[in-house]
């Protein structure tokens, strides 16, 4: 067996939109009608459209490939073809080994059965042998964190509990190829952390992973390579950072096409390190944010503002070119302008969204605003909370011997002196 886990070769998928006859009642009159009006057959052909066109890629064992794109780009169709639920109209697809999909992880649950019975049912549906499930049962239940409710019928579960149980089963299948479609967002914070950890384990064990998500940082975290789809076509296939920044810039272009543009347009924003486009930084590293803008009409007294927003889209930091001492600038129609912000990323771990603004300094008119213009992820080895990373160190850490006078022999009412506590 070669080390290729998935190979898609020139896969096409055609769908028919519009009316489809799905009852005999409609079909019979239509058939008799068609005999008299033969010319209308061609109209049915017009209603066809290609959901996927010429999709080719390979994924090696232990490699993970992200698939991104807007809604309707063909991501789900690609996954359905891979998991053999749909047949491609044209092209070839090969999957080596056992394939498992983390899609709608509780699809097989039956409401009247208990959690434990559903583990067996879902596990079998996902292709595990009964004995295999039996041996992993404790692990699965522990992972779901539903020990107390495991013998309760699933109909009494909340949606979150169903999702957790479903994910726990699916996460223990140990497949050769794993397809993940936007499921890491189930459960509470602790469960999500466990899911992410499990995903890393799966990746380390040599499983090939296909990862579909709208969360660019999850894609960036798990994938080495990424595939960008648009309207069924492959736009880009390459290193994850390049593809994601191309995708974010593309959504900008799509907005330009909407033509609700002001006198100045921000045309490109790139987050990079010293080597090039980059999405993942360690706390304290330096980052550069390149901004391109172009003027459509004459504009004067301009300044560019940069805000860094956190996951809740709250500003954690903001500045502007004029605020940093650069002069105001003016642009003639068609002129372009470039600037680069250098930042020390003293931020705690998490996802951040740079937001860019072009505004006129004297009357504070905003000409263009792009939010979020990009995205990057900070990793930090320290357990620190908040937004700003102050790079704290513990410089003194000792247990002092009990001395006679410090013993509370005669407890006094606590006095609110903050410095004493």
């Amino acid at each position: 067996m070669s080390d290729i886990a998935i190979r898609m070769e020139h896969v096409y998928k055609k769908f028919r939109k519009g009316e489809v006859f799905n009852s005999l009642r409609d079909l019979l009159p239509a058939l008799t009608g068609r005999m008299f009006r033969e010319g209308e057959l061609s109209e049915a052909d017009k209603r066809e459209f290609w959901a996927l066109q010429d999709l080719s890629f390979e994924v090696k064992q232990g490699e993970s490939l992200g698939i991104i794109g807007q809604n309707g780009a063909g991501k789900s169709t690609a996954l359905k073809i891979l998991s053999r639920i749909m047949k491609p109209t044209k092209g070839r697809m090969v999957v080596h080994g056992r394939l498992s999909a983390l899609i709608e992880v509780w699809a097989g649950f039956h409401q009247d059965l208990t959690g434990r019975e559903n583990i067996f049912l879902q596990g079998t549906i996902l292709g595990m042998a009964k004995r295999e499930i039996q041996s992993k049962l404790d692990q699965i239940i522990a992972f779901s964190g539903l020990e107390e409710f495991i013998d309760t019928p699933v109909k009494h579960y909340s949606t979150g509990m169903c999702a957790r149980l479903g994910f726990s089963v699916a996460a223990h299948v140990d497949p050769d190829v794993l397809i993940v479609d936007e499921v890491l967002s189930v459960g509470d914070f602790a469960f999500q952390a466990r899911c992410v950890q499990r995903m890393h384990e799966v990746l380390r064990s040599g499983t090939a992973v296909l990862f579909v998500s709208h969360n660019m940082n999850t894609v960036a975290e798990f994938c080495q390579r990424c595939l960008l789809l648009e309207k069924g076509r492959t736009l880009m296939l390459g290193p994850v950072a390049e593809v994601i920044s191309a995708y974010l810039n593309r959504s900008k272009e799509a907005r330009e096409a909407d033509a609700s543009s002001g006198p100045v347009m921000i045309s490109r924003v790139t987050v990079r390190n010293e080597h090039g486009a980059c999405l993942r930084f360690h706390a304290g590293q330096k980052a550069w944010i390149d901004v391109d803008l172009a003027a459509l009409v004459r504009c004067t007294r301009l300044s560019v503002a940069l805000y860094i927003k956190d996951e809740q889209l709250e500003d954690v930091f903001g500045t502007s070119t004029t605020g940093l001492g650069s002069p105001e600038f003016s642009l003639e129609p068609g002129q372009r302008f470039q600037c680069t912000f250098e930042l020390s990323l003293n931020l705690v771990g998490g996802t951040y969204y740079p937001t860019l603004l072009v505004f006129r300094c004297d009357n504070q008119t905003t000409y263009d605003r792009w939010m979020p213009a990009a995205t990057f992820h900070i990793t930090s080895a320290d357990d620190v909370r908040g937004a700003a990373h102050c790079f704290p160190k513990v410089v003194r850490h000792e247990v002092l011997a009990a001395s006679r006078e410090s013993l509370p022999s005669n407890p006094e009412p606590e006095t609110p002196v903050a410095s004493e506590r």
Binding site: F21, N22, S23, I85, L99, E104, T124, I125
Partner: protein, 261 residues
């Protein structure tokens, strides 16, 4: 087709799992589950008794216990046939999530329905044995035909089940058509009556592939005779062809299931 059957074998555990799911859900309240298995046969037997009684009154012929026994015996395979076809018809659309989300051979659904119905059949058979003993109908060597007859019924039910399950996925009103056919089918199948009552014209009734099997059930169990072999052979061949045709039809349409459901 060989590769497809091999794949089905690989998924045999899933077949049992889904059949068990259906049985478990039905028998979760054990009294209701048991009632469910015997309710339909009991109703069929009662209707049969009414029909036979009316017939006896009209023709001034006596009503024999063996006739009642024959109705009871034939009601079980008929109930099995009806419930398999009825639930197989809905099996794919009821499991919509599984059909569209996860890959496995989808014939597992109609097959699991058949297995669950077969379980009901055995539960009801236990009740039937008691009933037959009460009517003083005991052991005979013709009972050895039962496995052959049962197998034929299973083949026929599964074959038709595959046809209707796949068809009802593409045409939503197939289930209504099937329901009507099943409701009135009992008049064209010798459950309440025996084919011999029609004399020469009985062969028209026997053209219904379910008829020779049901007649054979009645003959072997209630009347302790051997079945009408040529007609039984017709039934067996028909059942085999139905299963092959139904399976081929199902497999041919299977790739389009996820898009059409």
């Amino acid at each position: 087709m060989k590769a497809e059957l091999q794949e089905l074998c690989r998924y045999h555990e899933l077949l049992w799992m889904i059949a068990c799911r259906d049985i478990k859900v039905r028998y979760k309240q054990s009294v209701m589950g048991f009632l469910w298995a015997v309710l339909m046969p009991i109703l069929i037997v009662l209707s049969g008794v009414v029909v036979r009684y009316a017939y006896a009154l009209a023709s001034h012929a006596p009503l024999h216990t063996v006739d009642i026994a024959a109705v009871a015996v034939k009601s079980l395979p008929w109930a099995f046939l009806v419930s398999t076809i009825r639930f197989a018809c809905l099996s794919l659309t009821n499991n919509r999530d599984l059909v569209t989300k996860i890959y496995f051979p989808k014939e597992i659904f109609p097959l699991a329905v058949m297995v669950a119905s077969l379980f009901d059949f055995f539960v009801a058979s236990a009740a039937l044995v008691i009933f037959l003993l009460a009517l003083k109908i005991g052991w005979s060597s013709s009972l050895l035909w039962i496995p052959v007859l049962l197998l034929t019924t299973i083949l026929l039910a599964t074959g038709i089940g595959m046809f209707v399950s796949a068809a009802s996925l593409f045409f939503r009103d197939v289930k209504f058509v099937v329901e009507v056919l099943l409701t009135f089918g009992i008049f064209f199948t010798p459950v309440f009556y025996d084919v011999e009552m029609f004399g020469e014209k009985g062969k028209w009734i026997l053209l219904n592939p379910a008829s020779p099997v049901l007649e054979a059930f009645g003959a072997c169990v209630a009347r302790r005779q051997s079945p009408d072999l040529p007609w039984l052979a017709y039934s067996i061949v028909f059942a085999l062809l139905t299963l092959l045709g139904g399976y081929a039809f199902f497999k041919h349409l299977e790739p389009a299931f996820a898009e059409s459901i």
